[in-house]
Amino acid sequence: MKKPQLLVTPHSLEHIAALLDAGADAFLVGEEQFGLRLAGEFPLEAVKEATQLIHAQGKKIFIAMNAIFHNDRVDALAPYIEELDKIAVDAIVFGDPAIVIARREAQSEIPLHWDAETISTNWFQVNYWGKRGASRALLARELSMEEVVEIKENAQVEIEVLVHGMTCMFQSKRSLLGNYFLFQDQAMEVENRKAAKNMFLHDKERENKYPIFEDLNGTHIFSPNDICIIDELEELFEAQIDSFKVDTVLHTEAYALAVVSYYRQAIDAYAESQEEYEDIKAELLEKIEEIQPALRPLDTGFYFKETVY
């Protein structure tokens, strides 16, 4: 069996070193100016160091360029891609077709990974972007297990899914937190909380808590639960999904390390035999439950949940 790649979003260079030891196969890094909702900020210098570190161990590094760009940032895209080319990163993750144009301008052949989050919903799309330079697609989190498997069966590119962490369910260009503080006549709070990532919206009716923060790309609101399917990976293994993503945004480095090591165990166990995975999966889930912050309940996202429309 070809093991799925275990991809993680690291917080720092030191974190990358530790995550390599914990068994991560691939890393998604970048900076706010180009990438969305990253666990850490990696300017080009840091990308260079990270690449050396990661490549020395034969692992992969991908760069997030998945923002929704406005005119003021598009001129910077091709020069940034040229720099990435020099560093020889393994892929660029994108969601805006401007990247297809910018990559051409930069005469780069770095593979693209298509990740437009909420709108990546069927197998035709993943092949469409495959014909335009993508070697992989990351699927919307709002798909069912059945839909994921069917996409994989029909895909001519690699398929990546989120197996663990929170997902963004809303991005506005507006400064919704800043606007609220200003409306409440608390201009000081706008300054004080500009970089704060400790806020959440409380939805009393559903008893949900939605993490919220603001950055260069606007206001982001996250799912009330962390997806965790460490004990539900059979179908993804069987379908030969190419990459399992662990998103560590808004979690600690230590939490990320532990979670990655548990998914490493799950993947390695299944590679030995299905029975071996079956034997340890409940225990792995328990271990995650032990370290799970009280504010963040676990669930299985939409893998086993119906949506209507």
Partner: protein, 424 residues
């Protein structure tokens, strides 16, 4: 940003500058009646939803036969019909797409408004006579992405609601493609397509028409400080809200026209015929007046007042002039506010007896001061005299929705004219 003069859209005729490349006024219609009203009141094009592949699953949506009837009606006015097919499909939604697109094409529709590459590529293949317009669901925000869709052969793109005048100007300079931009109506506060609040909160798929407008709800803002969850505001303070005011760019129409924007879009397939008639009337007047004599154009106060007669939320300019602040959002009680009741639509007028035949839509009675408006009559006020039902019986009031009533009006009105009443 001052209004520029765009020589590509104007000519000097008899020493006077005239806009010769007038933009299209594009109106919404949730059903055949609304479509006819939009066209009759002066829309150059109407966008409608079909029974599949479109968002707004609650809007009354068109069958293929109804699309055909709509197209035939619109053709008489030289107006175009576009069909929104702007879901992001899941695998299961892929079945039946080819037939559906061919049926739309067969109905004589001009184009489709679409977001999913699946539908774009399928349309190119099986219904090549349909124009393909990129939906705002793709949140198209920069000129390189515009260039991408141009290279893909699309005729037109609808921009993200987050794009402003200066950005649109650069897109127009860099790429030769038709641009459609929202000028009026309700707004998404998130990047369109990038909001799945409904999915996570109510298990309804927003990108397939299930949006339950969770962004209009109130939330409490908390912070976690040393492990403690603390509310940042007191209970008596206004809750955290994201609800945006509705877009209204009527006063920016001159600038929008000079930017060379090709289609000015009014949102609201769920809105009433009164809303559509009023909004289309006013935008039509402003576009026509500006294009006829841009150098001496002054916006009339009564046009602005007319537009407010169908307002149901506070309004703002959104991104057109730059980043919107908190003044462009609604906090606290933001229930809808209407100032006028739509009382009825004229079905007929008898020139000899001066009797109006009217289909009632809201309560009115003898002695009420009402206002008539329509494309040929402009606006005028009258006091309602004696009201009769179909059998000639005198009524103390017109109480029943859709009831046919008759009353006298010395000033001539026409079929499709509307009657409204100020709420006091």
């Amino acid at each position: 940003m001052s209004t520029i003069v765009n020589e590509r859209i104007s000519e000097i005729i008899d020493g006077k500058r005239v806009i010769t490349r007038k933009p299209e006024l594009l109106a919404p219609a949730g059903n055949l009646e609304k479509l006819k009203i939009a066209v009759h009141y002066g829309a150059d094009a109407v966008f409608i939803g079909g029974q599949e592949f479109g968002l707004r699953s609650n809007a009354g949506n068109f069958s293929i036969a109804q699309m055909q009837e709509g197209v035939e009606f619109a053709n008489k006015y030289d107006a175009k019909i576009y069909v929104t097919t702007n879901i992001f499909a899941h695998n299961d939604n892929m079945h039946g797409l080819e037939d559906y697109l061919q049926n739309i094409e067969g109905a004589g529709v001009t184009g489709i408004i679409v977001a999913d590459p699946l539908i774009i590529e399928t349309c190119k293949e099986v219904a090549p006579n349909l124009e393909i317009h990129l939906s705002t669901q793709q949140s198209l925000s920069n000129w390189k992405a515009v260039q991408y869709w141009k290279e893909q052969g699309l005729e037109r793109v609808v921009l993200a609601r987050e794009t402003g005048a200066e950005e649109i100007q650069l897109m127009k300079e860099k790429v030769d493609i038709e641009i459609e931009s929202f000028v009026h109506g309700a707004m998404c506060i998130a990047y369109s397509g990038r909001c799945v609040l409904s999915n996570h909160m109510t298990a309804r798929d927003s990108n397939r028409g299930g949006c339950c407008q969770s962004c209009r709800w109130d939330y409490d803002l908390y912070a976690v400080e040393s492990g403690e969850e603390k509310p940042l505001f007191e209970k008596q303070q206004e809750a955290f809200a994201m609800s945006p005011k509705d877009l209204k760019l009527i006063e920016s129409i001159p600038q929008i026209i000079e930017l060379g924007i090709d289609s000015l879009k009014v949102e609201g397939r769920m809105k009433s015929i009164h809303y559509i008639a009023t909004v289309v009337t006013v935008y039509r007047k402003v576009i026509d007046a500006y294009c006829a004599d841009p150098d001496n154009f002054i916006i009339q106060r009564e046009w602005l007042e007319e537009l407010d007669k169908c307002a149901n939320r506070e309004t703002a300019s959104s991104y057109f002039e730059g980043e919107p602040g908190y003044e462009q959002q609604m906090f606290g009680n933001h229930s809808k506010q209407t100032t006028f009741d739509f009382c009825g639509i004229v079905l007929d007028y008898n020139d000899e007896t001066s009797m109006i035949t009217l289909q009632q839509r809201n309560y009115f009675k003898p002695g009420d001061e009402v206002e008539f408006f329509g494309p040929e009559i402009g606006n005028f006020n009258v006091i309602v005299g004696e009201i009769f039902d179909g059998k000639g019986t005198s009524l103390d009031a017109a109480r029943h929705p859709l009831q046919i009533v008759h009353f006298k009006c010395e000033q001539k009105v026409n079929s499709h004219d509307m009657m409204r009443k100020e709420m006091r």
